[in-house]
């Protein structure tokens, strides 16, 4: 049986990559890898690396001394400290912090509940629904909340009976709406940790005379805390960057938030030249995101040490 001539990627590989045929064997084996990696590399470069690079570059460009020229400078970043931008930054930080904390508490409670109930139905429902809901932060979400608890919503009366100053189109409303995808995210992230709290630890705690409270205070919480903190961080980052549902709910006027500011500056930048500021905002958001990621990785390593997850 004749062997099929090697397909073009293989033959193009060694020639295309220019590696010496007589070189070490590892070099030649790498060539098909480059062909296989090329498409995704192109996409990543075109649609991720270049935009991020362009964003950083544009944020550093400020109008030069003569009109129409641009030089490098940090003016755009200092402009962040004033006006609607600083308000937006403060609002975003407050909103993300509160939303993440609320979700951490309720989500953690639910994750504990799911791990305690140990029902197969609940487990399978959780597996499917939590990943569905965690990604559900868009336009339909905002609409359904408007219908449910907006100004003329079905359940608005219920909520205002408890808290008369509540309105959906404010910080409180946003926090409430964000829970819809933050709590499932929290459950998704922390359920494995709750599940891997070993039964032996609880039994050891009981045999040494401790109660449930002691268990949680001395054993459970300290072990789970890195995972909980990591999840909180991720939720903070996620809430900080949420744009779609907030945009539908608030538009660009009422309540300044960083993602809305960015969108607003981008939309109007042709006229007002606020493009650089929008980029600076974007860079800030990106930097916060990267810090969150690094901190999360460190916390996960810590958590894995105890829980082998």
């Amino acid at each position: 049986m004749t062997s099929v001539p090697q397909s073009s990627p293989r033959t193009a590989g060694p020639a295309g990559a220019g590696s010496a045929p007589a070189g070490p064997r590892r070099r030649r084996a790498l060539s098909p890898a480059w062909t296989a990696l090329a498409p995704i590399a192109v996409i990543i470069v075109l649609f991720f690396v270049i935009p991020i690079g362009g964003m950083v570059a544009t944020s550093l460009l400020v109008p030069g001394s003569e009109p129409g020229t641009k030089t490098f400078g940090l003016d755009n970043f200092t402009a962040l400290g004033s006006g609607s931008r600083s308000m937006a930054l403060g609002n975003s930080l407050l909103l993300s912090f509160t939303a993440a904390t609320v979700a951490a508490i309720f989500g953690g409670l639910c994750a504990w509940a799911i791990s305690t109930v140990k029902s197969k139905i609940v487990d399978s429902i959780t597996a499917v629904i939590s990943s569905v809901l965690a990604n559900d932060g868009g336009v339909p979400l905002a609409f359904s909340f408007i219908v449910a608890v907006g100004n003329t919503g079905y359940f608005t009366a219920l909520i205002t009976a408890v808290d008369s100053t509540f309105t959906l189109y404010s910080v409180k409303g946003l926090i409430l709406m964000y829970q819809y995808f933050l709590i499932p995210t929290m459950i998704l992230l922390t359920l494995p940790s709750f599940v891997s709290l070993r039964q032996q630890w609880r039994e050891a705690n009981t045999s040494l005379g401790g109660t449930s409270l002691t268990f949680w205070r001395r054993v459970g919480l300290p072990v789970i805390t890195p995972a909980l903190l990591g999840a909180w961080l991720l939720m903070f980052g996620s809430a900080f960057g949420t744009h779609a549902s907030a945009a539908v709910l608030i538009g660009t006027g009422g309540f300044p938030l960083i993602p809305l500011e960015i969108a607003g500056q981008l939309a109007g930048s042709a006229a007002t030249g606020g493009e650089g500021v929008a980029m600076a905002l974007g860079v800030t958001t990106g930097a916060i995101a990267v810090i969150v990621l690094i901190a999360y990785n460190a916390l996960m390593k810590r958590s894995a040490k105890w829980l082998n997850t």
Partner: protein
Amino acid sequence: MAEHLNSSPRMKRFLAWLPLAALAIFILTPLLSSLIYSFFRADGSFTTSGLTGLADSGKIVAPLMRSLVVSVLAAVILVVTLVPAVVAVHLWAPRLRSVLSILCTLPLVVPAIAIVAGLSAVLRSLAAQGRGSLGMQLNTMLQSQDLPLVLVGTYVILCLPFTFRSIDAGLSTLPLRTLFESSSILGAGLGTTLRRVIIPNIRGPVMFSVFFTFALSIAEYTVAATLSINTLPVFLNTLSSTNFRGSITLSVLLNLTTWLLLAAATVSASRFGHRPSAVSEHDEPEADEPAVSQAAGAFRKDDETP
């Protein structure tokens, strides 16, 4: 002490159901509210004005088509480019694996709004190069309302984190080197091996990636709205000012579609995840090499029903 031990598990289990019940109520309420609103007026009468309002104007067709095309393209391109890359990284360049992993996880933390801000800057600078120049042409092509390639590329990036993880995990369970070596002994090249051996074996992760990318792309709002491309969610938002009930109806439909797709994705990931497919073994018939027959035998295991 014995009492304490006996009653507390039951108490605990009862207590544990409470937050779950509260959560279920919280999740279901907005959904039911929009469902009810789409079909019932304030006085309780049934109405289909939402649905008819959608169909009447016919304005829904263009955004719908646009969203569908973009989503299908994004899903296909993601699978076609990501699978070879992950395979390559597993087989030939393990050192690049952490690089690829980081690159594919970054879009998870860098929010879409930051990505679109950068995109906007790049597109603007392309356009600033003047009419008729290459930059301008590139700019218009990427953003054309008929086929917004810029959306396709961006959605691929946005979906990378979850899909990479899934495909990566799926490939880790395969004896890749064995498969590749046996396949090339039998004369297959890179493309054939990928198509007929590898992909059938990671059917679960591939299906997950397809469903997930499709669902995310069809419901994505931030990038499309900022670039002023009229996709379905963007249309949904503008519709709300003219025909609120219609927009709620559409949002319920969109939501249900997305949920079904994501649920299908999750289910297919778990159901098809681990078992190697029996299909591929047709391409690897009798062979002398013990490694090949071992690999083929692993596939055949599923076929043999007692």
